[in-house]
C-alpha cells in the first residue's frame, strides 16, 4: 500500500498548484479499514479505478473549502454546492486520477471512471475493494482549512 502514497501526494500538490494556483501540504498519512471509514466532509469527488489495479480515489472537503477552491477556477463567489462547485471538485479528482496513472504507467495499466460527486454532511463512501485498507492523506489548504485524499487500491490479480 505504501508504494501508492508518494505518487498521490506529489500529484495532488502539483494539481492544486497548477490548476487552482493554491498550495496544499500533505499531513500525516493514516489508514482506516473500510468499516471504520467515516467522513466529516460535505462533498466528495470519487473516481473508480479498474484494469490492472482496482479500487477508487476520492477527494473530500468541507463546503467552505470547496467554495474557495471553486472560486480559484471561476473567479466567482459560491455559497452553495451548485453546478460550478460539483464541476470543480469532479474535475480536480479527474485530473489527479489521470496524472496518477502516469506515475504507475510502467507497472500498471489503470482505467479511470467518470467522477461521481457525493454531497451531504458526514456522507459515507462505499468503497469497492473488499480487503484493502483505505489510505487517507490529509492536506492543509488556505492556511486554516483541510481536505482529504482517500485511496483504496490493490493490484487486480490479488
Amino acid at each position: 500500500m505504501e508504494q501508492y502514497i508518494q505518487p498521490f501526494i506529489k500529484v495532488c500538490e502539483s494539481v492544486f498548484q497548477e490548476f487552482c494556483r493554491t498550495e496544499v501540504n500533505a499531513g500525516r498519512v493514516y489508514f482506516v479499514s473500510k468499516d471504520e471509514y467515516v467522513t466529516k466532509w460535505d462533498i466528495s469527488g470519487i473516481i473508480g479505478l479498474s484494469g490492472e489495479a482496482t479500487g477508487a480515489v476520492a477527494i473530500s472537503m468541507k463546503d467552505t473549502t470547496a467554495f474557495k477552491v471553486t472560486k480559484t477556477l471561476t473567479g466567482k463567489e459560491h455559497k452553495h454546492i451548485d453546478s460550478d462547485v460539483t464541476d470543480a471538485v469532479g474535475e480536480i479528482i479527474n485530473i489527479i486520477a489521470g496524472n496518477v496513472k502516469k506515475e504507475f504507467e510502467e507497472e500498471l495499466r489503470i482505467k479511470i471512471s467518470l467522477p461521481t460527486i457525493v454531497k451531504g454532511v458526514a456522507h459515507t463512501i462505499v468503497w469497492p475493494t473488499e480487503k484493502t485498507r483505505i489510505i487517507c492523506i490529509p492536506f492543509s489548504i488556505f492556511s486554516d482549512q483541510e481536505l482529504c485524499l482517500s485511496i483504496a487500491v490493490a493490484p487486480a490479480n490479488k
Partner: protein, 122 residues
Amino acid sequence: MKTILVVDDSHIMRNIVKNIFSDLKIPCQFLEAANGKIALQLLENNKVNLIFLDWNMPEMDGMEFLKRAKSMPDYKDTPVVMVTSEAARYSVIEALQNGAADYIVKPINEKVFKEKISELDF
C-alpha cells in the same frame, strides 16, 4: 472567422480553454459540447476549423469521437487537440495514432497550450 469546437463535460474546463485561446487574439467563434455525441451533431451542422477534445466524458468519450470525426470527409484534416487528464504515455500514443494533431495534459500549462496552438494550421 474561425469556428472552434470545445468538447469537455466540465463547463469550467470549457471556459478555461476558451479564455486561454481568446488570449491569442484569433478572430473566432466557439461551439461547445459536453460529450462526443453532441459534438458530432455540431460537426454535421457547422463548419468547424479546430477541435479541443477531452477524453473521459459520458455518452461518447473523446476517443470514439476522434475516430468518428476523422472518418468524416469534411473533418479528416481538421486538427483535433486532445486536452485531457489522461497523462500516461500509452494514452498519448493512442490519441496520436488515431489522428489527434496534438496532446495537452490537464492541468493546462498556458504557455505550452499557446505554443502548441501557434504551431497548428487551421
